[in-house]
């Protein structure tokens, strides 16, 4: 009887395991972003003339919210709306533009960058529970994705949602290259 029960429940267990593995956001820096850094595809700050090239205009970076049922992670390459909150309840797909008033910096052997202000959504009603924010380069033609940041699952109903950035240093900065 036990064997029969185990046989019958096995497909259910496999399905549940696959569901849990396939539908979860994972905090990560996108692998493609690491390559794009080497290609000089992102400008988080404006450089002074350095004899090689001069980047005087920073790119615009945005933060978008994703449902807990989505599966964003290191394998992402570009921003898209798959798994994003629906464009209802005062949420606009594409997310919000981040304030970028602080140049990337270094401390010890670590380089870091953090947006200089919180990201917030006013009078939001989310289309479902969400637990991830995707950072991407909105200036880039392909909307190249930088990273996925996870937090406890939240559902917002007719109220504000604020995402406050971590301390901008080599230990906790939003983006760190150590």
């Amino acid at each position: 009887m036990k064997r029969l029960l185990r046989f019958l429940l096995l497909p259910v267990a496999v399905y549940v395991e696959r569901f849990l593995l396939l539908y979860a956001n994972a905090q990560a820096m996108c692998t493609s972003f690491k390559m794009e850094i080497l290609n000089g595809s992102h400008a988080f700050g404006a450089q002074a003339a350095n004899g090689v090239r001069t980047v005087t205009t920073k790119d615009v970076f945005k933060l978008a919210l994703f449902l807990a049922s989505a599966s964003r992670g290191a394998a992402d390459t570009v921003y898209d709306t798959t798994g994003e909150l629906a464009g209802t309840g005062n949420y606009t797909q594409g997310g919000v533009t981040l304030t970028n008033a602080t140049e990337p910096n270094t401390s010890g052997t670590t380089a870091f960058w953090t947006p200089s202000a919180s990201a917030s959504w006013t009078n939001l009603t989310s289309s479902g529970a969400f637990d991830a924010a995707v950072l991407y380069n909105s200036t880039a033609t392909g909307k190249e994705e930088v990273s996925v940041h996870t937090f406890s699952s939240q559902s917002i109903t007719g109220a504000d949602f604020t995402l406050t950035m971590p301390t901008n240093d080599a230990t906790t900065g939003l983006i760190r290259i150590a």
């Binding site: 905090q27 990560a28 820096m29 690491k34 629906a86 209802t88 309840g89 670590t110 009078n123 009603t125 989310s126 289309s127 479902g128 990273s147 996925v148 940041h149 996870t150 937090f151 406890s152 939240q154 559902s155 917002i156 109903t157 007719g158 109220a159 504000d160 949602f161 604020t162 995402l163 406050t164 950035m165 971590p166 230990t171 906790t172 900065g173 939003l174 983006i175 760190r176 290259i177 150590a178």
Partner: protein, 77 residues
């Protein structure tokens, strides 16, 4: 008596498209909660009317995030 803007419970399920109305805040049950771990400090506030959430806001403070390790290879063995 202060008033608060809430969603009317015009249908079951997620009230994203519900109408909103002002209601006396004293009629609502207000609860607050928080999470504090190495990744975040989160505080949320919920307002319930007859046991149903009619308003919920949250503030997530990220603490520590993603880092990439930069590796420079050594020539030779």
């Amino acid at each position: 008596m202060s008033q608060i803007l809430i969603h009317k419970l015009v249908r079951n399920g997620w009230p994203q498209d519900c109408e909103q109305e002002m209601i006396e805040e004293s009629l609502l049950e207000r609860t607050e909660g928080s999470i504090d771990n190495e990744h975040e400090h989160t505080v949320w506030t919920e307002w319930r009317l007859d046991g149903k959430i009619v308003k919920r806001g949250a503030h997530v403070h990220l603490k520590k995030n993603v880092a990439a390790e930069a590796v420079a290879a050594m020539f030779g063995s």
